[in-house]
């Protein structure tokens, strides 16, 4: 089992999803979306939330980038760099599955 696991790297064909131990939830007390994980709770900003919500295990990173670029009326290349960096960081913390 040990040998099967290795660090995942983001590519445009990755189809990210949230692992079972991570979930996005609206908190009515604080009126904000929280990301719940085993020990930590994160309060993502709007852009992070937009990325995480698209991590449905079916959309490719390329598709997510195209959608966000359209929504934010931004250059695809600029969006791509941010999205890839964000997803790699979250994958490295095991908060996103690639």
């Amino acid at each position: 089992m040990t040998a099967l696991r290795e660090r995942a790297l983001v590519s445009s064909r990755s189809m990210p999803s949230l692992p079972k131990h991570v979930r996005i939830q609206y908190d009515p007390v604080r009126q904000a979306f929280a990301v719940l994980s085993p020990e930590k709770i994160f309060w993502p900003n709007d852009i992070s939330l937009d990325i995480l919500r698209r991590c449905d295990g079916r959309s490719t990173v390329g598709h997510i980038i195209a959608e966000l670029a359209a929504d934010y009326d931004a250059e695809q290349e600029a969006v791509a760099a941010d999205v890839v960096a964000f997803l790699q960081e979250w994958s490295d913390k095991l908060l996103v599955k690639l």
Partner: protein, 373 residues
């Protein structure tokens, strides 16, 4: 300087003090409560519902051994229905067939399993439970089979600090997402057994290097949380994220506490859920307000630039070592009695070097502190 009171985020629910293990560093108080003092199912469910209303997003179900509560799946379901993230903290021995699956079914989000050693002999000796290691391995397998995410928790002290590399391999082999290398905090039973548990400085340094290298190597594969040992520290930890700042705990009888060891501070008295609501206790309990924020601080904390990073460290450690719960945590290099920590380490090394027949631990047991040893 006083910030507005924010709602709490996390809660540790010690459902019971009963436990099949007898670890000599247990964070439970020395005076353990018997089963007849535990809250009943409906009271826990009411408490959880109030906790969710108050803003609690995450509940750690602990003990003692929480799976000894036969109503655990009901309690999980109650929290789950309110969208509260549930983490079961278990020793993983003696869990009946089908129960782990029932917990998963009830909505359990995550399971944390303790290993007292990476080697069977160590686990069995530290927990004073024969065959414990094998049962834990089985619990880990069942949890994974039930689709539960897994953290392995390894409490570290002089008798297993050399097993840290093996703990890392063990956690990987069990498919854990997380490993906690948690050096024992000297409160509760660990304070009683401090001389027997305190590691050597060289071993602590080696451990830090091993963990740093493993974290680098295992990026994206397994997270390693490293709880460093206070007595060897330069700065204290922000204990509980600051006293009554965003978390609290509840004892088996419903006593609401800012932290595990808070009852060792003799000037404070604590309130029970039932007679008072959770919201009242959180906002108005004099014990909760005693060390909230920074107004209570003395020097050097009061004017320290780190006062809102570590919140003065651990109040119970200040009580235990400085004899004043409002003192700077002696783990801090700025504490006037910081040198006492090094003396205590040396004292422990000398005490541990003296050969003595039989087991040297005071094992955790109900009633052991009220009876002559």
């Amino acid at each position: 300087m006083n910030e507005p009171l924010l709602p709490p985020i996390g809660m540790l629910a010690e459902l019971t003090h009963r436990c099949p293990l007898q670890c000599p560093y247990c964070s439970n108080p020395l005076e353990l409560l018997k089963a007849n003092r535990e809250l009943d199912t409906q009271t826990w469910l009411d408490l959880f519902s109030q906790a969710a209303d108050l803003g609690i997003l995450q509940v750690h179900l602990s003990g003692g051994e929480p799976t000894l509560r036969r109503d655990l799946d009901q309690l999980i379901a109650g929290l789950s229905a309110r969208g509260v993230y549930t983490n079961l903290i278990t020793a993983g021995v003696g869990i009946a067939e089908g129960r782990i699956e029932a917990f998963a079914e009830a909505g359990l989000d995550h399971l944390q399993l303790s290993f007292q050693g990476a080697r069977p002999a160590t686990t069995d000796r530290i927990g004073n439970h024969k065959g414990g290691h094998e049962k834990k391995l089985e619990t880990a397998r069942r949890a994974r089979a039930a689709g539960l995410p897994l953290t392995i928790n390894a409490p570290i002290h002089r008798h297993n600090i050399e097993e840290v590399p093996e703990f890392i391999d063990l956690a990987l082999s069990l498919g854990a997402e997380r490993l906690e290398i948690a050096n024992v905090q000297y409160a509760g039973w660990a304070l009683t057994n401090r001389d027997q548990l305190m590691p050597e400085r060289a071993a602590v340094d080696r451990q830090a290097e091993i963990v740093a290298a493993a974290r680098e190597r295992l990026t994206g594969i397994m997270n390693i949380d490293f709880v460093t040992p206070d007595y060897f520290a330069i700065y204290p930890k922000p204990c509980m994220g600051g006293w009554a700042r965003d978390a609290f705990m509840v004892a088996p009888d419903g006593t609401v506490l800012p932290c595990h060891a808070a009852q060792t501070i003799p000037s404070l008295s604590f309130e029970r859920f039932g007679p008072r609501s959770l919201a009242e206790i959180w906002r108005n309990s004099p014990a909760f307000n005693a060390f909230r924020g920074t107004d209570w601080m003395q020097q050097p904390c009061r004017s320290c630039e780190r006062r809102e990073i570590d919140w003065g460290g651990c109040r119970c450690q200040a009580m235990a070592i400085a004899g004043d719960a409002a003192a700077t945590d002696p783990a801090c290099a700025k504490s006037p009695i910081h040198a006492r920590m090094a003396m205590l380490i040396d004292e422990a090394q000398r005490a541990a070097a003296v050969p003595s027949p039989g087991e040297q631990f005071v094992y955790r047991r109900i009633g052991v502190v009220t009876e002559p040893a």
